[in-house]
């Protein structure tokens, strides 16, 4: 429809962002007026959604752009969270280092570095881990590579779970199953000094969530921006070439190892930042959060949204993280209260989630908003498929 209107190309491309961006940015201002339905995402859900969008867009660089299947992305999330845990809590009680942290006594035990400084640190450490994961796998192809990433995704959570007594030395790195908690606050308190019009209660939940949501959106904006810039760069082209045909890419002068490593590192970078932020928001780094389930959930977000397409991935991540966090439960409760049934929908969450994935793959395997490259690929596949007379169903 919109294609037919006599609107210039740039304007057409601008219409959707012009509508959507204010809707998203101003969400905290109007969501209470949407009603009291449980289905309306709470601010806490909205913060979680921004975190997952960040991670999914990061993962998309590895999977969608470079075509490297990564089944262990949760490792970077974990690393990000633990960086926050180590450097902004009382974990290392033998030290007392305070640097830029807001709301922490200047002689508090433990290391307390401003979260704002830790975000890039966490991202960088995750990126370094991405390189480490990438290095031994550089000679591997396809599914072997996937398995190694899966392995790292299993090893890192296990290390943090067992890390309260590293190899029997008694050194407590991660505080084991209990995790590191609490983590220092983000430091929004500082705003009170510079923005005098803020009410006194702005630091109380849920008012505080508004600020987390804004920071989350900022992270999303940065991630998406970098992702698009990289996609359109020399490196981005090399990634697509690598995905299409490794041998031809190498013969055209693309250094495979370097380019793959950069893909892992850039993907991990944003996973680390998001993990750090989420750790602060949740107030702790808890091993139970870092399960294979998260890796697969993220992968599903990328694929359902439309692999390779940043906007599709954002949408996929928003939808799935909403469903995962609040939506499925809310839908169940709504059904129960309207039909007098007594379904404990949380019990079926995993199954429903699985069903959603399967149905989506059966009926729209190219994702919600596929990239044009994917679409081209799928069009051919679909036609061939119909031509081959494969019975559908």
């Amino acid at each position: 429809m919109i294609d037919k209107l006599p609107i210039p190309r740039w304007a057409r491309r601008a219409i959707i962002p012009i509508i959507i961006v204010p809707l998203v940015v101003l969400y905290p201002e109007y969501y209470t007026s949407l009603g009291t339905s449980q289905l309306i995402p709470t601010l806490s859900t909205a913060v979680t959604m921004t975190v997952f969008v960040c991670m999914a867009v990061g993962l998309n660089m590895v999977v969608g752009y470079a075509g490297l299947l990564d089944l262990g992305y949760v490792a970077f999330y974990a690393i990000g969270s633990y960086v926050a845990g180590w450097f902004a809590s009382t974990q290392f009680a033998s030290h007392s280092i305070v640097f830029g942290a807001v709301g922490v006594q200047s002689h508090a035990i433990g290391i307390h570095i401003s979260i704002w400084l830790l975000l890039p640190v966490a991202a960088a450490m995750a990126a370094a881990a991405g390189v480490v994961i990438g290095l031994p796998t550089l000679r591997l192809r396809g599914d072997y590579l996937a398995l190694v990433t899966l392995g790292f995704g299993e090893i890192i959570p296990q290390v943090v779970r067992n890390g309260d007594n590293m190899f029997g030395t008694g050194f407590n790195l991660t505080n084991g199953v209990a995790g590191i908690t609490p983590i220092d606050p983000m430091g929004f308190r500082y705003l009170h000094g510079i923005l005098p019009f803020l009410p006194d209660n702005f630091l109380l939940t849920p008012n505080l969530d508004v600020w987390f949501y804004r920071v989350g959106l900022l992270l999303v904006a940065i991630t998406v921006f970098c992702s698009i810039r990289l996609r359109d760069s020399r490196l981005g082209r090399a990634w697509v070439a690598l995905r299409e045909d490794e041998i031809a890419a190498a013969a055209m002068g693309v250094p495979l190892m370097q380019v793959k490593t950069w893909a892992y590192a850039s993907g991990a970078f944003f996973g680390g930042a998001a993990g750090c932020f989420y750790g602060v928001y949740q107030g702790g780094a808890i091993p139970d959060n870092f399960k294979l389930y998260i890796s697969t959930l993220l992968l599903a977000m990328v694929i359902l949204g439309g692999m390779g397409n940043v906007w599709g991935v954002c949408l996929g991540a928003a939808v799935l993280s909403y469903l995962n966090q609040q939506g499925l439960g809310a839908i169940g409760n709504t059904i129960n209260s309207n039909f007098g049934t007594n379904i404990e929908i949380t019990k079926y969450e995993a199954g429903l989630f699985g069903l959603l994935i399967v149905l989506m793959m059966l009926f729209r395997p190219q994702g919600l908003i596929p990239s044009s490259r994917r679409k081209a690929e799928f069009d051919v596949v679909k036609e061939e498929h119909e031509a081959a007379g494969v019975v559908v169903g």
């Binding site: 299947l69 398995l147 296990q158 019990k347 995993a350 199954g351 989630f353 699985g354 994935i357 059966l362």
Partner: protein, 350 residues
């Protein structure tokens, strides 16, 4: 090393691979020596314990092999990691519990013959169930995606995995369920747990039967043909869809049998047991995915690693490190042999 003759021309570059090559070899030998030493000390400290740990290792290995073969069969024919396979296996354990425990009430108190036929019935039941379940999954959810880019069917199997484990939770509840000790735990004077021996002995004919089917029968020939070139197989008159269904059925049957043996050995199971599939899949890759002997070998290695790690007493890291150790070893091996232990090197694609 091929670079020897180049030494004069570019000394640094030519020597580098030699040095890293030597280093690699030295590290490998050192690691192996350490492993042997560790095992030897453990053996000397407690030969009896060592023996039973070895047996547990082989038993685990046999169980993993039955699951790993399912991964390898399916991967071999359509190059798909079937993430739902572990859950099919889990359903095999559930069906076994239903038949042997709930319906037949086996608990080890029955006579040998009753137990034997009861177990056999449970096993056949589990094999039939999984042998139908697996091709049904293929038919309903995967066939449509036969020509789609590879991640689409992969993610579908993830979804199915969630559905299967959730369904098990629905029918069997969120807690462990299981059977009594159906099999005797001692044989005569031997200190070894008999049930472990039985599990190993029951696995052998299954593996031989599989080998026969793949190597000798018409369907096996069709499977190999489809695996090597699907279109060419079609041109030869092979019904490709049927062959793929058959392969899924074979994988399911093995998983079903594995499920029964698992329940006999471990006696309990739960809806999330499918995660064990991860280890089995690792075994398949370790051995060289697509290679049947490789999957069995990989499964034995992983079974032994797990048993040594969890069972030995002298400086064994213990159960909480098993996954990390298994994956670390896998990564190490893949770095040196990217195609797995018995896998074929990547075909010449240039």
């Amino acid at each position: 090393m091929a670079t020897d003759t180049h030494t004069a021309r570019r000394p640094v570059l030519a020597v580098l691979p030699r040095v890293t090559g030597l280093l690699n070899r030295a590290v490998t030998i050192a690691l192996l020596a350490l492993l042997v030493f560790w095992l030897a000390v453990n053996f000397v400290q407690g030969p009896g314990q060592f023996g039973s740990v070895l047996l547990i290792g082989f038993t685990n290995g046999a169980l993993y092999a039955l699951i790993a073969l399912g991964y390898t069969l399916v991967y071999g024919i359509i190059e798909l990691i079937n993430f739902a396979h572990g859950d099919v296996f889990m359903w095999g354990t559930m069906i076994t519990v239903s038949i042997a425990g709930t319906r037949l009430g086996l608990d080890g108190s029955q006579s040998g013959i009753v137990t034997f036929f009861g177990v056999l019935a449970a096993m056949v039941g589990a094999m039939v169930f999984c042998g139908i379940l697996n091709p049904t999954i293929e038919r309903v959810a995967l066939r449509r995606l036969r020509n789609a880019p590879r991640l689409a069917p992969l993610i579908t199997t993830l979804g199915i995995s969630y559905i299967l484990s959730n369904a098990a939770q629905f029918f069997y509840g969120p807690n462990y369920t299981g059977v009594g000790a159906i099999l005797p735990s001692n044989i005569l004077f031997l200190d070894w747990p008999a049930k472990s021996l039985i599990v190993i002995l029951a696995t052998i004919p299954l593996l031989l039967a599989l080998t026969y089917v793949v190597r000798r029968t018409r369907q096996g020939k069709a499977m190999r043909a489809v695996a090597q070139d699907m279109d060419a197989a079609r041109m030869m008159g092979v019904d490709v869809d049927r062959t793929i269904s058959f392969t899924f059925a074979l994988a399911g049957i093995l998983a079903g049998a594995g499920g029964t043996l698992y329940v006999l050995e471990i006696t309990t199971t739960r809806y999330d047991l499918g995660q064990i599939g991860l280890l089995a899949f690792t075994a398949a890759v370790l051995g060289g995915i697509g290679n049947l002997t490789g999957a069995t070998l990989g499964a034995l290695i992983i079974g032994l690693i797990q048993a040594f790690n969890e069972g030995l007493s002298w400086h064994a890291p213990g159960e909480q490190w098993t996954t990390s150790i298994v994956f670390s070893i896998l990564i190490l091996i893949l770095v040196f042999r990217p195609q797995g232990l018995l896998g074929q090197p990547e075909a010449d694609r240039a």
